[in-house]
Symmetry: C3
Subunit: 415 residues, 3 copies
């Protein structure tokens, strides 16, 4: 992080104060708790066909909400193992701001009724998805932007994320319940584009990454364990019904297990020194999770999850070895924490896999689960082909919004 | 921690053995599991109008009990970031003893029937509240007392905490479901008073705190994450009904988010070096949680939680800068981990906010929730004014018991 | 870990790839998700009288499955504090492979029907038990075997564990719901036997253990906290019914508290330097948990759990002081992480305590819980004496299978 002058310190303090005050005022004017005691209040009038198309039926148990905080924290700790000095505290502040801001922006899009935003458990879960995407974005620029730029990036990122999510999930009916597209792909490419715009030819060197010594990394160990323990449960909190839940959780577990083993297959071949580093396992874990973001609930056999996870686990080692140097030298895009390898590519692959599975989805294979996963198809209002086309369109739209939004944000807000 | 002589080592070992044997004997004579399969057995004969006035109705799910262990551990890890050498192990031992002892003492006060104490999930939850308060107390004297003194402080602290809690919650009917008064305020001032009594003019120097180097503190990172993840869920385990739950959890989240941002507002102004340290964010998180201890379930709008959290987040930086030096030099009270700034003042402020909200509570604003939060008012046996007076009296009683108890404990047990 | 040559690196990579491909193929041929939406599908045709004799009735909530990942991770982090360099990453890989392999092997034994293995939540829970046992085994040989040997040890260990578990729980009807025998005792003695076979006279020195410096050990702190927080809940996820649950959880808590205090009693007497180290408390925590593996659900009074935990807490300090040196010099068995003191002996003691409690179990003491804990006795198809004999036979069978299997594995696979 660049040195602070007294002026910049006071500017940061002032901006932060201003943002918090503005947020409080908007909250005071617009935000109210759902009048119903049930969390995630979703009356007839509200647009409920959102993250989960039948969100109106479900009432995520409140106990689960707190687990959502983990997604962000898992990512946070994961980044610590790549880029440490001073960035930890700023990342937590970014989270604290992103959560408030996401509740507002998403509230206007989804829970706005009679001039008020009605927040509940569902709002918090959605806000945490958004926070996770923002943390992924910051992973690309960490160490090269100052806190004020971070706050502005958060401000814009939340708006763009919510817009993209609204278009995909609510307007188009894309099924992406754990964010292969909306969280991982969007977050990675938004951050990379900002990083590209902020490129300073004389300052940024394409250093070789992953050379932070070979001490067993405390943060990577803690981060990996967090992901293993909480990511599958995070999965379970966002899937619609008890019925659809088990497969998604088990698929995520199998995917994590296979992606971890994939690292062991590639690492001795790619790296001369041969010692496996925790941070590599952590990358594989994240990639395995990103891969299951869309396809997790659609896979109907365990070996599918194993294969997908294994492929996802191959991406980060190969990416860091062959892609990151090219990205840096040719495309002038630095990627501090390697989000392209860990979130971007696995996210895209996960979206493609999800689309493929949608094409293969038949009532025979899914049985009663079809109506939970593709309700519009089950109801007969869509054909399976419609759903496939819709899933397929999600990817270019996300990439477009992420790169366009990233370049505008970088050009006009952070310069 | 002072050096050990052989004699003191054996005395510690002997005392510990004696305490454990005595505890086992008392357990053997008095303590039985609740005959009912339902946790937190609460028959007609038992005084159930305790922590939650309608505890009789509720049966906290057992799954939640294990989450309680976190409160203590969150605090524990939090302290590690301030004062490390050798104190970790002792703190865990204090916890292990405090839990057993609290089950006994609180059992005699609440679950005593026909000559037996009937323990269940509810006992464990209450014992953990007590353990948290004791850990806060030890935070004030950490590093200046030996393990034997720690054990004696625990012995007395548990008794005084249980007495204070019994008077406030059971006898007076104060509503303080997550312990702004009973845990944070009591714990902080009990510890500070003991610290005052143990003051040794020639040995204690008022060192400047918060100068533990600027490496990203592993313990502070882990501690902060624990608090964010588990504190709101801790909240949810102790609130009465599903109906009252959502608001308390969401209020706590909003409070944590705002208090974290408050640190970023103040820190660049107060500290010349300008780098934000994890331990400051951790303090803000704790203060934001202490603030919601009483008011969390009473706030009916999200922006109230944001404002309260923001104010709570301002206290620790200001306190460490201006109050702790005065406390140490003028009042001769050292405060190793800064519990006065992090628990004491936010606890008091939280209690005052809770009282204010009680005064503003109307059946209109609360709707059906009134009977869960202020059952006596809802039933008509009390007026709202009675409840306000009762809440207001809780603060001086807690302060009196904490300071009086602390000075007696320091004077007669630890000298 | 020994140095890697290029050949050995490629051999590891190849073996790993081969194992993953074979696993995927077997999964593709045999493994399917349970057709029922309910986790742990257990139809009339399947042999359901397995881990919990009435597993057929229960449907562990899926939410709990993710908690299972913790058992392994708790142990993992626990070992990190004893033996660090490079072993972390390998241990996680072992876990990732063991989980997949255990799902297969246990699937063939328990969930095989019409040529397919039907996996669900129950499979994952069982696989995690198995993984925990394997991790305990690797704790004995950590640092003296290479990754290829680790993978082979996992391969054989999973098969032997599943066999032992099948004989004990399914064929004989032993009641050991949280693995005093099947996990702790089997894991420890299997690993020790492998360690004995791999003994190299000129290389292995009986170094004094526990001298890893006196910095407050981050890994031991994190490990201990994990165990405290998640072990009791792990307990709760595997016990049968809500009714039997509370006692098992509370017994585990009381046992952990007492075993932690026992360390404080012994440590100052045994160690001259007198400073209590986190790793000792962690050992006590593990021992206290191993002790409750079989007896946790059978104890009907809290003071029983306190006494048992206190005794368990005495074993590790005494074992490390007096037994480990003898084990190493006389029996030529090195024990890198001290699994004999922490898992082996407390596991045996726990099994003996469980047998004793079975002998004392009467319908009077247990009431309605008898049918959940000893269903065969409650149904009248067995006498209480039958159950006692059965429990008693479990110990020698486990020891026999562990030592025999360990020597065969060491001799024929790892040499």
């Amino acid at each position: 992080m660049p040195e602070y002058t007294t002026a910049s310190r006071f500017r940061l303090s002032g901006l932060c104060f201003l943002l918090q005050i503005i947020t409080i005022i908007i909250f005071a004017v617009f935000v109210r708790y759902s009048p119903e005691s049930s969390p995630g209040f979703c009356s007839q009038q509200l647009n409920c066909s959102w993250r989960n198309q039948d969100a109106g039926f479900q009432h995520p148990r409140f106990r689960d909400v707190h687990l959502q905080a983990l997604l962000g924290f898992g990512l946070l700790v994961a980044f610590l193992s790549r880029y440490r000095p001073g960035s930890v505290a700023i990342s937590i502040l970014i989270m604290a701001f992103a959560i408030q801001w996401a509740v507002l922006i998403q509230g206007f899009l989804h829970f706005f009724l009679n001039g008020k935003i009605y927040v509940g458990a569902q709002s918090m879960v959605s806000a945490d998805f958004c926070t996770a995407a923002i943390l992924i974005s910051t992973g690309a620029v960490l160490g090269r932007v100052n806190p004020v730029q971070m706050l502005l990036l958060t401000l814009m990122g939340v708006i763009l994320f919510s817009l993209n999510e609204y278009i995909l999930l609510s307007l188009m009916g894309v099924r992406d319940s754990r964010g292969s597209l909306t969280v991982h792909t969007f977050g990675a490419y938004f951050g990379l584009m900002v990083s590209r715009i902020l490129h300073q030819p004389h300052m940024d060197k394409c250093k070789k990454q992953q050379d932070t010594g070979n001490q067993p990394d405390v943060f990577a160990v803690v981060g990996t364990i967090y992901l293993w323990i909480f990511w599958p449960s995070f999965t379970s909190a966002t899937t619609v019904r008890e019925n659809a839940e088990p497969w998604a959780v088990l698929n995520t577990y199998f995917s994590l297990a296979a992606s971890t083993l994939a690292t062991l297959v590639l690492s001795p071949v790619l790296h001369e020194e041969g010692t496996l580093r925790m941070v590599q396992i952590q990358d594989a874990t994240l990639a395995g999770a990103a891969m299951m973001g869309m396809a997790g609930e659609m896979l109907v056999t365990p070996f599918g999850a194993l294969i997908a996870g294994f492929l996802a686990g191959l991406i980060p080692p190969l990416g860091f070895r062959f892609l990151t140097p090219v990205l840096c030298s040719r495309l002038k895009t630095q990627d501090t924490c390697g989000v392209h390898n860990v979130h971007g590519l696995p996210g895209i692959l996960g979206a493609l896999l999800g689309t493929l599975l949608t094409a293969l989805a038949t009532a025979d294979a899914y049985g009663g689960r079809l109506e939970f996963i593709f309700p519009l198809v089950a109801q007969g209002s869509w054909t399976a082909t419609d759903q496939v086309l819709c899933q397929l369109c999600g990817l270019p739209i996300t990439l477009l919004l992420a790169t366009l939004g990233g370049s505008l944000t970088g050009e006009f807000c952070l310069r």
